[in-house]
């Protein structure tokens, strides 16, 4: 068993299967179970069923500590709409929101949405990068201390502390400012699903969580090295992006057929064995934590958590986060200063 490190493993949860998608009470049961078991966040993937973004708002009101990361398909949203909705849920949840941006939605989904042709993949990634940039910039519309709300003087906000965005890019033209205050986290952690050089580039530029799909520890270490270089090229520190590979835990005896093809890595065995693998990856620096893929039932969540999480805790890799922790806190990401505060600090220096 290794000594106590200053790093803390982050545990995210992604649910699959039709379980809770049309029945909100199932989804709520899963979210509350995940929270009770200590998961740091729930990734609300874009499955058929309820809209993951508005559903996150309902879950924000019915949970106290778990982070919530809905998937958002860039081609079907407008940056201003998404920026205000996500920021609002960050206000409602007191800093527990993140977001996952899909540059390309699958073709089946695309045909349903309608009059938005599928751009080629590279263009889609460029548009997604611009999208993410506009959303993050809109969140900086108001400085953290813009709102004075002084009843005596009658001043509600300081006019010197908001910013017009006046963005004019290849895909979007947005004036700003956003009609909600800077979200509690300032910047909501952006999750990118890896798997291609284009996705890695997007993650290196603006992502704060990368959901990678390495096939083994060596591949994970290789991915870490590649991302460190990409981050450096983008002028960001290696720790600015949390690497959370996808894991498909299979508790108990070896099944006859393992899932094959692209997807989260199947890890088989007893809870101790699975926890051992996770700790090995974490200790080696190949991963900052994991996104655990489970079927969408409260039982499956409980079975995994009851077996594996206590072992991780004994190992010193994971501990519960305190009530009031933001998603950034749970990810070990620092405070996100506004770009305007940073510019001002640089100007002074």
């Amino acid at each position: 068993m290794s000594g106590v490190t200053s790093r803390r493993m982050t545990l995210g949860l992604a649910l699959s299967g039709p379980g809770g998608v049309t029945k909100f009470r199932n989804m709520l049961a899963s979210a509350q179970m995940a929270e009770g078991c200590g998961f740091d966040f729930l990734w609300l993937t874009d499955r058929p069923g309820l809209d993951p973004i508005t559903m996150a708002a309902a879950l924000a009101a019915t949970t106290q500590r778990i982070g919530l990361i809905p998937s958002c398909a860039a081609p079907y949203h407008r940056p201003y709409n998404l920026a205000r909705r996500l920021a609002s849920i960050d206000h409602i949840s007191r800093g527990r929101m993140g977001w996952m941006l899909q540059p390309v939605a699958d073709a089946a989904l695309a045909s349903k949405f309608g009059n938005l042709p599928l751009a080629d993949v590279a263009t889609a990634h460029a548009v997604a990068a611009e999208f993410a940039g506009v959303v993050a910039a809109l969140w900086d519309s108001w400085d953290d201390d813009a709102f004075i709300r002084d009843k005596a003087s009658g001043l509600y906000f300081d006019r010197a502390k908001f910013h017009w965005l006046d963005h004019q890019g290849a895909a979007f033209k947005v004036r700003g400012p956003l009609d909600t205050a800077r979200p509690p986290q300032g910047l909501l952690p952006l999750l990118i699903a890896g798997g291609s050089a284009l996705a890695e580039q997007l993650a290196a530029g603006q992502g704060e969580i990368l959901h990678g799909l390495p096939a083994d520890l060596r591949a994970a270490q290789g991915e870490r090295a590649v991302m460190s270089r990409r981050l450096e090229q983008a002028g960001r520190a290696p720790a600015a992006l949390r690497m959370l590979p996808g894991i498909l835990p299979i508790l108990g005896r070896t099944p006859t057929a393992l899932p094959s093809g692209p997807g989260p890595l199947p890890v088989l065995g007893t809870p101790e064995a699975i926890a051992g693998t996770l700790c090995e990856w974490f200790d080696s620096g190949a991963a900052d934590g994991f996104i655990i893929h489970l079927p969408d039932t409260a039982d499956a969540i409980e079975a995994f958590a009851a077996g594996v999480i206590p072992v991780l805790q004994r190992h010193g890799a994971w501990q519960p986060s305190p009530l009031g922790a933001t998603l950034r806190d749970m990810l070990g990401l620092g405070h996100a200063p506004s770009r305007y505060a940073e510019q001002a600090a640089q100007a002074v220096a």
Binding site: P18, T22, F24, P48, G49, L50, D51, I53, T54, M55, A57, A58, A60, A61, T62, Y76, H77, R78, Y80, N81, R84, R85, A87, S88, I89, H91, I92, L109, S111, K112, F113, G114, N115, L116, W142, F147, R149, K151, G154, L155, Y156, F157, D158, R159, F162, F172, K173, V174, R175, G176, P177, L178, D179, T180, A181
Partner: protein, 451 residues
Amino acid sequence: MRRQMILGLPIHALGYHQGCWRLPEVPADGTLDFRHAADCARIAERGKFDFLFLADSAAVRNLDDPAVARDREHEQVKNEPLALLCALAMVTERIGLVATASTTYNEPFNLARSLATLDHISGGRAGWNLVTGFSGDEARNYGFDAVPGSDLRHERAREFVDVTNGLFDSWDNGAFPRDRETGIYFDRAKMHFLEHRGKHFKVRGPLDVATPPQRHLPIITAGYSDQANEFTAEIADAVYAAAPNLDVGRAYYAAVKGRLAKYGRAPDSLKVLAGIMPFVGRTRQEAQDKFEQLQSLIQPEVGLGMLRLHNFPDLRGHDLDGPMPEVELSRGRYDMFSDALLEKVRRENLTIRQTYEVVAGGFWHLGKVGTAADIADTMEEWFSTGAADGFNIQAPYLPGSAADFVELVVPELQRRGLFRTEYETPMLRDRLGLPPAVSRYDASRLRQAGE
């Protein structure tokens, strides 16, 4: 059963009166605090209100006009309505949840999905306040240089509603057997591709959400233009009217209901909701004191800004307590109101300060200061003489004046038999007196069977 009033509570920041946020009892940071909204929601539900209403505009408006003192107002930042209502659905059980959403700055599939989600998680309590967006500030957040013309916006809105209702009809009743024995999750024969191809949208469907409990969400509209009124008559289930006095209220009521026959609709199929800003007290004196306290908290910069938004010129630098100078009103969205206001100024020789106090006191809608009986009298008169089927209660400050209304006025309305004492039906549609929504495919089958 005797006809009863419909009551909505807009959760409008910290209240409708511009002085509200400076009252000692109002939580000045409540606009973004979920607990504030939840308090308001619970109060309204305690009062058996039909619905909560969240107005919206996806912009901070007029921020670049130095003559409009936005920095001294409380309502410029807020939580987005659909997100806030999904959260409020979790802390309420019966009250309706009406979200404002624009057809100009959304896509039908996305909005249908979000509205269906709200309807599912609330058990059929969702409503849609459909707006087309009138502000240039909003347009500029979505790639436009100016707001698209009213005709174009309403044309898009018509097609938008056709698409969203079509998407809500993607699944027939009973389409999801979810049968563990047979393994059949949904019945393909009961699924419909929309295959919509119109001028503004191309949408295949089906919606990937099961049919919302209400199937079609009640649609509320507002607006003052001829296009808006025609759109209301064609599409809306309820309309949020703006009428400062009984004569205007009756005229509007008759006019908008008069347009319904053209669309084969009965007068009762559209509910007219008037706005009323009640300043209620246990005595008339108490009500008057509260009203004056609020009026005294309006900052001159804010008052002048309000006049500016009602087509008046920049009056900064004039003596507030001197007479209103000769002014030429600009033209815009609020012509009907600004013209009436100027007429009143001339008739009553109002000073500049008195003029903005008139606006702040609920000029647009009905402002009423008095006891519960006084306010109930006014509401009853509007309700029973063809000016309103219900009201949006524009609480001057929140949550306090909503709580006063629920404690004082609601029991008075109930005593008179004008308002419910218990929630009867779970769904907002039923509560608004709308018939159950029939899928377009069922409707067409019924028509064929009848032929």
